[in-house]
Each structure stands twice: as C-alpha cells, then as structure tokens.
Subunit: 259 residues, 2 copies
C-alpha cells in the first residue's frame, strides 16, 4: 500500500524545485523501469503492481530502497500520466560533473533554450543512437528530469550525460581550445557540402527564436539542412529534434564514425 | 457569437467518423489559420477573436463561408486544446485521388500502421521539407485530420498529399511497374552505403511492431540507420519520425536532389 505521505511525496517530484532539492526524479512505465533496474541505477522506491514485481528477476530487486506493491488506483493517483503504467520508480539523480577536458574529444551537443520536453527527450534519444554522450543545455532549457522528457527519451538518458551550464562560458573555453562550434542557422552552409569534423560542439537553438544573439560570435561553422521544396507556405523550419537527428546522422556518415 | 448548435458541431468534428461524413476538419492557431487562408484553402467557418479578424488582410476574408467573432471562453469551449488559440477554422477536406501513374515519379512514402498523431504530423513536416509530395498510409494509420496530427504538421499538410489505401494492392502495382520499395528494417543495409535511387517508395512501419509480415515480400531494398553506440541498454530504435527525417535527408544528399 502506498501511504498518503509517500503518495504526496512522489507527486511533489513532478515539480522541478522539489526534484532539485531532493536530488530525485520519477520514471514511469514497465519497460523503462526494467531498463533502469538492469542498468543498476540507484532506485530509491519502486511502486508497482504485484504482477510486475513477480515478473522481476530476483537480482534486479537487490539494492532497491523500498518496494511497494500497489493497485491500479494507487498508481493512477501518483502518476503524471492520464493512464498509469504498471510500475513507477523514484530514482536518485546521478552526480554530473563538467570536465572541460571532455570537450576536446568527440562530438558534443549544446542546446540553447530548448523548451519543449518532447524535443529534449527526442534529442537525447537521437544523441544516444549516434553515439554522442554529452549534451550541454543552457540554464533556461527544459529540465531533463521533467516526466515528459524522461518519457520521450525512452531510456536513452541512461547513455547520455546532460549538463546545465552557462553556454557563453562553455564556448569561451571551447574557443580557447580551438574547438569547432557548429551552429544550425538558416543562413548556414548545407550540411551536405560543408566539411564536417570528427569533433566539436553542435549548437541547436530555441524552437521559435533560434540561437541567441550572444552565442553567435562563438560559432565557427554555420550549417543548415537544405530545403528541397517549391512550396510557398507551411514549412518555415524543421522541428529542432528532427534537425538534430539529420545533423547527427550527417556527421556520422561523412566521417565514417563507427564504434 | 458562437451558437450552441455551431459549437456542438465544431466539437463533433473531433471525432473521425463525423469528419469523414461531413468531409470537414478543424485547424487551430493564429499562424496555421493565416497560412491556410493565404494558401486559398476552402474555409467553411472561421471562429476568432475580433483582434485576429481585424488583423487579416481583406482579400483573405473573401471566400470564407462564415466568420464568427468569439470570446476567449467561446473559443475554449470549442477547442481541442487545453488553452485555445485566437483562431480556429473549419476546413473542407480536399478530394484526393490516387493516381498510380504518379508512383513512377520521384520519391514517395508509405506508412504501415503508424499510430501516434505526433509521429504522422512530424513525418508530413519532414516530407514537405525534403520535397516528398505523396504519403500513402495503410488504412489503420492514425487519421491525418486528427487535431494532433494537424498541430504537429504545422501547415506542411498544405504541401503534401496523404492517401489512405491498401498497401498490399499499392505495392502489387508498384512491383508490376518495377518501382523500388525501400523498407526500413533492423536487418537492413546501412543507408550510408546502400545505393539509393531517385525514385521509389520509402516504407516505414509501426512504432513498436515495425513493418507487417504481409508487406515484407514487396520490399526490394532493405535499409537501416546504423546505430553508433556501445550502450547496452535504452536504445532499441530511433523514433519513426526521426528515422523518417534521417532517411529523407540521406536520399536527398546522395542523389543531389534539388528543385
């Protein structure tokens, strides 16, 4: 049974402020919870239907702070979704420490004021797919532990580190170290012809405003995805998460990056 | 003022059955409505705040069946969104007629049982961007006139024709005409190395089940997007709309398609 205090606590984690104070966040969904358990992530509380709990291998239950069997109605009460899944877990946030030395190796992504949780989740998923391990978010980006981001990222968050930081400072450091910054801009050069490198930072801007003025001077490579259409209306831009997927793909292809 | 009958009628268009019977659908949002008016689409009813109506150029108002000024509360009542926009319009569905002769020219997309409205909307947007004009949906795909599809497609629906059809029959026709069918499959060949053509049909499957068994024999080219990761968990597949964007981009790049 889920006590009232526990229920209220889990619900309170839907708020960013509470998540930050407690250093905890919530994941929902049978598959997602199983993936987190398999990845040996630190799980404080697991609330799930008895059937779900019975289906777990014993060694997955080790190390879980507390396991609470619950009914559909109890899960519905604490879920952020209209229709709850069979399992929900409270997870400890990993400590993420920025290391500027990291910047020099491989491809990274920087996101400037990306607001839509679905977009951030999808970008994390695309980054994980294309082997990009670090995402630097400006401090006004949507919170990575927002339930909708977690849902859209589909477990890919286990493979990608997301940092919140002052992008101006980050880019100053990058510039000092001659690290290329690829900015996705309407007036950029086609990603199909621009010479892409094997390392650097891919910078993507806000859904409607694009990249902030103050970040523009740091861009060393202006890139864009060519529009192949004669249409006069209706398509101003690709969605930022689609653009991310296409750009990550093109970096991968052009450099023959393979693990 | 929006009469009660009118309000109920507009709300009833949230149901697919009613949309099909009436051959009407609803769009919401200031920018979207303006784009539809600019594109000279047949608008039966425009419900909007007086400020919005006043901001319209006179020639955009010509040909609108009826214009109803409305308050925020009235718009909220008839909107499918939690927070209504300033304008909502009832649009006549265009007659779309399948022409098999079309199949022979350029790139097309076929979607097998794509269920998520956001995915269909995003795929339409990506298709429009990359100059793909025809999308063939299996009859069990989500309805293109579903409000969430329209919202996600962001007006791109004005530039892409969406047909609902029996994909087996379509592919039989395609096979007779030696049209290549590119199926996105886990066991496919990398899109970076597979020789892509300038025409044919790109087939994408359901979000969790992939491409139906019955369609597999028609596939002439099995393709996939390589995963560049050493991660053991969390990334089974790219979301179908991200995969679509990447595949459309790679067809574009490899053939130097330009208008």
């Amino acid at each position: 049974m889920v006590s009232k205090t526990k229920a209220n606590f889990i619900i309170s984690l839907q708020k960013k402020k509470v998540r930050e104070d407690e250093k905890l966040y919530v994941i929902e969904g049978d598959k997602l919870v199983k993936e987190f358990l398999a990845a040996k992530v630190s799980v404080m509380t697991l609330v799930a239907k008895p059937e779900f709990l019975n289906s777990l291998p014993l060694f997955h239950k080790h190390g879980i702070g507390e396991i609470i069997p619950a009914s559909y109605d109890e899960l519905k009460k604490i879920s952020s979704l209209k229709t709850p899944h069979n399992a929900l877990a409270v997870i400890e946030m990993p400590e993420v420490k920025m290391d500027f030395a990291d910047l020099k190796m491989g491809l990274k992504v920087a996101l400037d004021f990306v607001q839509d949780p679905g977009n951030l989740g999808t970008i994390i998923r695309a980054a994980a797919w294309f082997g990009i391990k670090n995402i630097y978010c400006s401090e006004d980006c949507v919170d990575v532990y927002n339930p909708k981001v977690i849902q859209a990222s589909m477990g890919a968050i286990l493979n990608v580190k997301v940092f919140y930081t002052d992008l101006v400072k980050l880019f100053e450091k990058a510039s000092e170290n001659k690290i290329r910054i690829y900015g996705a801009l309407i007036e950029g050069e086609s990603i199909y012809s621009h010479k892409l490198g094997n390392q650097g930072i891919i910078l993507l801007g806000n859904e409607s405003k694009g990249i902030s003025e103050e970040l523009l001077p740091f861009i060393t490579d202006k890139i864009m995805i060519p529009k192949i259409t004669d249409a006069k209306s209706g398509i101003d831009s690709l969605n930022v998460s689609m653009a991310a997927s296409v750009i990550f793909s093109e970096f991968t292809r052009s450099k023959g990056r393979l693990l």
